[in-house]
């Protein structure tokens, strides 16, 4: 079974600084998707960024970027120029390839709570 591990329960960053959230995963599949979801206090799940495993190029979305190391099964999220609105719980997540029989069955990590200090 696939597992997703986030070893940092809490992180803090100064406003305008950069922070990196760590994530590792375990799978025997070669094709899959990785995601970072943001969960603000409202508890809505918001997709931040996603990465296809077959792509070597790291995904970027404005201030958010990932460092995807497939061999190491590592998928970290970098937030640049942190803003107060970035404060939230961040979940790393994995989704297997359709051909493996999984619909949108996403496996989540336990989350990292990010605090942004003004």
């Amino acid at each position: 079974a696939q597992t997703v591990t986030q070893s940092q329960p809490e992180m803090s960053v100064q406003e305008a600084e950069t922070v990196t959230l760590s994530c590792t995963y375990d799978t025997s599949e070669s094709d899959y998707y990785l995601f970072w979801y943001k969960q603000p206090p409202s508890r809505q799940m918001i997709l931040v960024i996603r990465q296809e495993a077959y792509k070597q190029q790291n995904a970027t979305e404005n201030r958010f970027s990932v460092n995807f190391q497939k061999a190491a099964k590592s998928f970290s999220l970098k937030i640049s120029d942190s803003q107060l609105g970035d404060a939230a719980m961040y979940f790393c997540a994995y989704r297997e390839d359709l051909n493996s029989g999984g619909y949108q069955k996403v496996t989540f990590g336990t989350g990292t709570k990010l605090q942004v200090i003004p």
Binding site: R43, Q44, M45, I46, R95, Y103, Q104, V106, T110
Partner: protein, 115 residues
């Protein structure tokens, strides 16, 4: 951007009672899901639903749980006899397809408290 809508936002019930959590997926989506998140824990997959039947379910989704799409727009999760450990945030989600590039849209969740 289109939204998945869930009602109610909070539900309080007594242990042993039946509850129905309601969701309105995005209108052109064909695949529907329920996830749950016990407070302080990770989000867990419960069930996926397509073409009026369950396509996949987790071990959490036992005989006490059922899903239904009663009228072509709503998607419901029923818990027949609630237990204390059913207290959690329940998220509905939908997607247009199942391809690897398909985006999964989550609702805002229903917080279920079983007393």
């Amino acid at each position: 951007e289109p939204e998945v809508t869930q009602t109610p936002s909070h539900q309080v019930t007594q242990m042993g009672q039946e509850v129905i959590l309601r969701c309105v997926p995005i209108s052109n989506h064909l695949y529907f899901y329920w996830y749950r998140q016990i407070l302080g824990q990770k989000v867990e997959f419960l069930v996926s639903f397509y073409n009026n039947e369950i396509s996949e379910k987790s071990e959490i989704f036992d005989d006490q749980f059922s899903v239904e799409r009663p009228d072509g727009s709503n998607f419901t999760l029923k818990i027949r006899s609630t237990k204390l450990e059913d207290s959690a945030m329940y998220f509905c989600a939908s997607s247009e397809g199942t391809g690897l590039s398909e985006k999964l849209f989550f609702g805002s969740g229903t917080q279920l408290s079983v007393l």
